[in-house]
């Protein structure tokens, strides 16, 4: 019962060809030049720095604050997300709010919050908490939806909703919620690091200045410290330590650097700054005011949102295909089927590096080395996403059932594993499309003329109203691409396949569990 759409019969092949075609169309419009004068010499300096890290450069408090912001942002976002998740399937408004919160990147939230709370801990914590609340709401709601409801169905008639939830719903999924939340702590740490690039006192703040001055030995030491933090997450972040960490974090937060009273900032922000310029002075009852407002919206849409959107889509499109190509190239190298135990260890190592290297930082570094163009952004995005998809495919390849006389090497790759995994590959790639798009928009802050470029420019000129309209544009674009990606996955019939990185390490992946137990679910009575 497939609906006839504007895309005639969609198959793995035709979908791939469409995406390749879109990339071919996008390529001529992308600036792929290397404008740095001596990129090779700069790379040598980077290599020299990496080989001789200077550990004296590690700023202790920046490390503490990175953890503190991440933990507090996670706890606040997780709590809000859990509450939202409870109403997720019942309220369209909640779904809409959650979608809006997560469609705007934490860096954008930080830039906005700075107008109110300045360079304070509150900015750092809420910049994480707000988008994470939206993400948690959606993921938690999915976990609840896929949970086993059998114990709930046996509860005595007229059991109150709260008791029902506390006994028969929450405990069923508690383990999954914990696993996912702890996984998210890693993401929150990466996000917090990146917030340093816009001025918050986290590790990223020092990394930015070291990179800018080409002090690679110092930057390497700081980054290694971050890798160790992420790598040892399992030891220090456990379900019972997170509340303790959160309380401890409250006591070590840095002091706010003066930005006036928060309340007067809030009043100014909502009462003046964020209100579109034409509406501030003119009477709302006057037709001219609205004509002026209309032309204000039109001007920004035509001169900023439209070109920014096109540039964002071009960057995301090229990065998506590059990530896909890299993933198909990488997955045999991290698979036991091809490289045995070596592949297994390669995969682990690759995952740790990828998980702890924020794309934004990578793009920043590459821009320093290669000069401003789209190329560094494409490399950063495709390395990060390609490695993640490659790792996930490698694990899936390990789990494939192969007959005893299966071919080896290239024949195995082309005739067995790749055809078998192709649907899964497309599911990963289409899911990552939205994430790549969000990052592409953000990379504008680094000078590439995607939507983030215009947002950053508007905020630095204190045209907050313009920035707000631009963010609406970012939100609409992200949500549309997400919806389009979803509908493609449905049409390709790969919507039930697992897509999340978090699903690999948890003992039970929610999506895949649902796919494998689909038969069991069909037996639930509907009489």
């Amino acid at each position: 019962m497939r609906k006839a759409g504007f895309l005639p019969r969609l198959t793995y092949g035709s979908a791939t060809r469409l995406f390749l075609l879109a990339t071919l169309i996008a390529l001529p419009f992308a600036d792929l030049s290397i404008s740095a004068v001596h990129p090779a010499a700069e790379f040598r300096r980077l290599l020299g720095g990496i080989l001789s890290p200077n550990f004296a450069a590690i700023e202790f408090w920046s490390v503490v604050w990175t953890v503190a912001f991440a933990v507090l942002g996670l706890v606040a976002g997780g709590t809000a997300g859990l509450v939202l998740a409870l109403f997720f399937d019942r309220s369209r408004l909640v779904r809409l709010v959650a979608a809006a919160l997560r469609s705007v990147h934490e860096l954008f939230w930080a830039l906005f919050l700075m107008q109110i709370t300045g360079l304070s801990p509150a900015t750092g914590i809420f910049a994480i908490a707000i988008p994470y609340a939206g993400i948690f709401a959606k993921v938690f709601a999915e976990i609840f939806e896929e949970a086993d409801r059998s114990a709930e169905s046996v509860l005595p008639h007229r059991t109150a909703a709260v008791s029902r939830f506390a006994f028969a719903r929450f405990p069923v999924v508690a383990q999954q919620l914990k696993t996912y939340t702890l996984y998210r702590l890693e993401c929150a740490m990466r996000s917090t690091l990146v917030l340093g690039f816009v001025g918050l006192p986290t590790i990223g703040f020092h990394l930015e200045s070291y990179f800018r001055q080409a002090h690679y030995a110092e930057a390497t030491a700081l980054l290694m410290c971050f890798y160790v933090l992420i790598g040892t997450r399992r030891f220090w972040a456990r379900p019972w330590t997170v509340p303790l960490l959160a309380i401890a974090s409250l006591f070590v937060l840095p002091e706010t650097t003066g930005n006036g009273s928060t309340w007067s900032n809030i009043a100014r922000f909502f009462g003046h700054d964020v209100i579109p310029l034409p509406l501030r002075s003119g009477s709302l009852w006057h037709g001219d005011t609205w004509t002026a407002f209309g032309s204000w919206v039109w001007r920004i849409t035509a001169h900023q949102i439209a070109p920014g959107t096109v540039e964002t889509l071009i960057l995301a499109q090229i990065a998506l295909i590059a990530a896909g190509a890299l993933a198909l190239f990488l997955y045999p190298m991290v698979s036991r089927r091809f490289l045995g135990q070596v592949g297994h260890y390669l995969g682990r190592a690759m995952l740790v590096v990828v998980r702890s290297t924020p794309e934004y930082m990578l793009a920043y570094l590459l821009l320093q080395l290669m000069g401003p163009s789209m190329l560094p952004a494409i490399i950063a995005l495709s390395l990060h996403n390609g490695a993640i998809i490659g790792y996930l495919l490698g694990r899936q390849a390990d789990q494939l059932f192969l007959r005893a006389d299966a071919p080896k090497g290239a024949n195995l790759y082309f005739y067995q594993t790749t055809p078998n995994l192709y649907g899964q590959f497309l599911a990963y790639l289409l899911y990552r499309w939205e994430l790549i798009l969000r990052e592409s928009a953000i990379f504008g802050i680094l000078g590439i003329k995607t939507l983030g470029y215009y947002v950053d420019a508007a905020i630095s000129e204190l045209r907050i109203d313009t920035a707000a309209l631009l963010l609406v544009g970012v939100g609409v674009l992200t949500v549309s691409v997400d919806a389009f990606s979803r509908s493609l996955r449905r049409r390709l019939r790969i919507e039930a396949l697992p897509v999340r990185l978090s699903a690999v390490h948890g003992t039970h992946s929610t999506k895949s569990a649902a796919a494998y137990t689909g038969a069991a679910q069909a037996q639930q009575p509907v009489a």
Binding site: V154, V162, F167, P171, P525
Partner: protein
């Protein structure tokens, strides 16, 4: 005697495909009815249909024990009486069980021989122990009708008989779905035989014998 359950020409199914056809059934209060039939005959659907019609008066023992694996046996059993207490009391019991509830739960666990597992995690129990936990939950629930879907399938015949006797003492009206013909005859006053979603036999147990029912189970182990 007063009637506890009436179904009048009921048709039910999964996803639109009927599993039960035209079921007319009336069960008196105090009756002990065994629903038997091959797998796929519609026993579970019939039981779920009955439970859904009388949720106020019935306790359900579903075929899969339907326990919360992460909670203790105590909490799983206590779920049988969540409707009798305030939400606040229930939440308190979740964190810090009061002695009176521990005593009440221990009593029903003793009846099924599982009292030593009071604070074991439900997920760590064997299949038979999970089934007895599910029975204990219905005992604590204590509603007059018990609708039990294969409540002793994972127990041996002696243990199974004991559990069925306990259920019979505690609940006024008993409806057991079973695949073991001997056990069904021994622990019921009336047998309803389903085949292909229809009732093809409905008689007092005393009129029936193992030999007479066996042909209806051709191909299934007894």
């Amino acid at each position: 005697m007063a009637v506890a359950i009436t179904l009048d020409k009921v048709t039910a199914g999964y996803h639109g495909a009927p599993v039960l056809h035209d079921i007319t059934l009336s069960i008196e209060r105090g009756a002990r009815v065994a629903i038997i039939g091959r797998s796929g005959a519609g026993k579970s659907t019939l039981l779920n249909t009955i439970y859904r019609r009388y949720p106020e008066h019935a306790a359900l023992i579903p075929q899969a024990s339907a326990l919360v694996a992460g909670l203790s046996v105590f909490h799983n059993v206590f779920m049988g009486c969540l409707d009798r207490h305030s939400t606040l009391y229930n939440l308190r019991t979740l964190v810090w069980p009061p002695a009176t509830e521990i005593a009440a739960v221990t009593r029903v666990l003793e009846a099924v021989g599982l009292e030593e597992k009071l604070f074991a995690k439900a997920g760590e129990l064997s299949g038979g122990q999970q089934q007895r936990t599910s029975v204990a939950r219905a005992l604590l629930n204590g509603r007059p009708i018990v609708v039990a879907d294969e409540p002793v399938s994972a127990l041996d015949r002696v243990q199974g008989g004991d559990v069925l006797r306990v259920l019979s003492e505690r609940h006024e009206t008993k409806i057991f779905a079973m695949h073991d013909i001997r056990l069904a005859l021994e622990h019921s006053d009336r047998v309803v035989l389903l085949e292909g979603g229809r009732i093809i036999l409905d008689e007092p147990s005393s009129h029936l014998s193992y030999e007479r029912l066996l042909p209806h189970f051709a191909g299934e182990p007894q």
